[in-house]
């Protein structure tokens, strides 16, 4: 290895071979990077494959040693058994119901609030926006007990209201994200619309929402993901088993099938599948959200 380096140093003067060695080095680096990335991808994907494989194995095969990477027999009926052993259809409907309202609430409220912070000048705007950002630092558990007490007093326990209503009042991260996007839309648009007699309300609804679709889609998808995967909220506020969400249902399912790994993996996969599908369809928006955050911090 060291001899190669020496040679390189001695031939620096001759231009052609110097460039050759640089391209050679670059190719070496790229090959090594490629190998690492491929190995890493296999490592990253292996748990998902493992979940699929385990979900179709018989319990005997799950417990056999050494474990098999490719199931010997594919027991698709595990899925039927999993679905039948818990009311997953019910849980899915419940979760969808909450999720739809949370997404609608988040999109409407956050874009509305963000428009105010981005495009309408008013006294105290900067201070209030600083407070918005500061709320991101408050640990959720500080407000958890009082919120629980509040919902108890309102008679909202064991309803979906505590999970849905707060979504209609905006959340710091989404306000921040949409405001950053709105700031990039030129003020001339607003001025022109105002001359035509449009109100801020009209401008927000008819101009900004359509123009900000990529950012709004990002908020919608993150909200969907958040509501779909929410465990803590339902755990605290929902008692009635018929009102359980998928996450709660899965937790109960886990308790009932303690070591039935094939059924547990089948159930888990069914709950994760919508998010995986959504991710592959709307990948662009997932990544967009991250880029917006990076762009505004960098």
């Amino acid at each position: 290895m060291s001899t190669i380096v020496h040679k390189e140093n001695t031939v620096v003067q001759k231009k052609s071979s110097y460039f050759q060695s640089v391209t050679f080095k670059k190719r070496m680096v790229k090959t090594i990077v490629m190998v690492i990335l491929i190995l890493g991808s296999l490592l990253i994907l292996s748990p998902i494959w493992w979940m699929v494989a385990t979900s179709v194995k018989s319990m005997k095969e799950v417990m056999s040693y050494p474990p098999t990477f490719l199931p010997k027999e594919w027991h698709w009926d595990n899925y039927i058994q999993a679905i039948q052993s818990a009311p997953f259809a019910r849980y899915t409907m419940n979760t969808l119901f909450i999720t739809v309202f949370v997404v609608i609430g988040n999109v409407l409220s956050n874009s509305f609030i963000a428009y105010g912070f981005a495009k309408i000048p008013f006294k105290g705007r900067n201070v209030l926006f600083a407070i918005v950002l500061a709320t991101m630092m408050i640990p959720g558990f500080v407000t958890l007990v009082p919120q629980y007490v509040l919902y108890a007093k309102l008679g909202w326990l064991n309803t979906y209201l505590p999970l849905i209503v707060p979504a209609f009042f905006g959340s710091a991260f989404n306000i921040f994200l949409l405001r950053q996007f709105f700031l990039t839309i030129p003020n001339e648009l607003i001025e022109a619309a105002k001359i035509d007699g449009a109100s801020h309300f009209f401008i927000w609804w008819k101009i900004f929402i359509p123009l900000a679709m990529p950012a709004i889609a990002t908020v919608a998808i993150f909200s969907f993901n958040g509501a779909w995967n929410d465990f803590l909220g339902p755990l605290l506020f929902i008692n009635d088993e018929t009102m359980y969400t998928l996450q709660l249902g899965l937790q109960v399912f886990k308790g009932q099938n303690a070591t039935q790994w094939n059924l547990l993996m089948a159930g888990s996969l069914m709950v994760l599948l919508p998010v995986i599908i959504l991710f592959f369809i709307f990948q662009r928006y997932f990544i967009e959200g991250m880029n917006l955050t990076a762009g505004s911090k960098g």
Binding site: K30, W50, I113, P139, V142, Q147, Y148, K254, L272, F279
Partner: protein, 320 residues
């Protein structure tokens, strides 16, 4: 009507309007307040109000059924002198944060740098590495309980290939937290995306200049790449610290509905607080605990902010 309006917008957009239109008039100010009203109301009801209640409640023996009576600093005293589990939970949380945050940050930076080398298939790799980051919830925890299962799990199978006999992860108190950190590392793709986005903003001319000076891969990494992305590292560190201290769900699900796992090794701060608040309804005490956590997070964030000028590089600074 709408198409007309849009035409007008297009036609008029390039014209500079007189400044007068932008001056603050009261009607517009009022509209501004209308727009942010939902946030203000939500903030008062769901954040500020609860914050005040929780601050007051932390000095009471509140337990949701009886009325609140003021007991001064008793909850805080009890926490520091008479609750061994609180110290266990604080230690577990610090352990988890101190190891998982640097590891995931370093891993995410490294991965982003590798993905930024313009090898073929970058988009596919990016998708694959990001996928675990969007997966969360009970399904993922169940998956990892299976992966970490001592005899039939994937992790120990892979370890056995390289001649390592894997521990019995989630049932051995010494290995439960490393197991969770392992799971966290699987989903470092979210941070990776942040870094990748900022790496793509680093000017190519910097690298070209360094290459002319004969800088090698490592010098380029430590003297160009790393300084240029320090603002994002800083942002990531601050948010990861805040998030890390609040670990709850993983431990709740993976330790049999919150019992804290073997030898309380998974009893994190928030889990202990949860058990106090909603298992034994010692809510005043739980609220006191939450304020101590808030203070810890505040202090750490302030330290982070204070240290930032020493190592965070802002592009504008060297163009004075």
């Amino acid at each position: 009507m709408q198409t007309n309006l849009q035409k007008n917008i297009k036609r008029q957009a390039p014209n500079k309007k007189p400044k007068r239109l932008f001056s603050m008039n009261q009607k517009e100010e009022f509209q501004g307040y209308i727009f942010i009203a939902p946030w203000v109301i939500g903030f008062l009801i769901f954040t500020a109000g609860p914050l005040l209640f929780s601050l007051y409640g932390s000095f009471t023996n509140f337990n949701i059924t009886s009325s609140l009576s003021f007991i001064g600093l008793d909850n805080y005293k009890r926490m520091f002198t008479n609750d061994g589990l609180m110290w266990t939970s604080l230690w577990n949380t610090l352990y988890y944060v101190a190891i998982s945050v640097p590891l995931t940050t370093a891993g995410a930076v490294l991965l982003a740098v590798l993905l930024n080398q313009n090898v073929p298939g970058t988009r596919l790799f990016r998708t694959i590495y990001y996928l675990p980051a969007v997966l969360s919830g009970v399904g993922v925890y169940l998956l990892w309980m299976q992966l970490l299962s001592p005899s039939s799990g994937l992790v120990n199978t892979l370890l056995s290939w390289v001649g390592i006999e894997g521990p019995s992860w989630l049932s051995d108190p010494a290995w439960t937290k490393p197991a969770l950190i392992f799971m966290k590392l699987w989903s470092l793709g979210g941070g990776m995306l942040l870094y990748l986005a900022s790496l793509q903003g680093v000017s190519k001319s910097l690298y070209e200049a360094a290459e002319i000076d004969g800088a090698n891969v490592f010098r380029k990494f430590f003297h160009i790449t790393l300084p240029m992305i320090t603002p994002i590292i800083f942002f990531d560190l601050v948010t990861s610290f805040i998030g890390g201290f609040q670990i709850f769900q993983e431990a709740y699900v993976m330790s049999d509905s919150g019992n804290g796992g073997p030898a309380n090794s998974l009893l994190f701060y928030n889990l202990h607080m949860w058990n106090k608040a909603f298992e034994v309804f010692d809510m005043g005490y739980a609220m006191a605990m939450s304020w101590i956590l808030f203070i810890i997070i505040l202090v750490l964030t302030v330290i982070n902010l204070k240290l930032a000028p020493r190592w965070v590089h802002y592009d504008g600074e060297d163009r004075k």
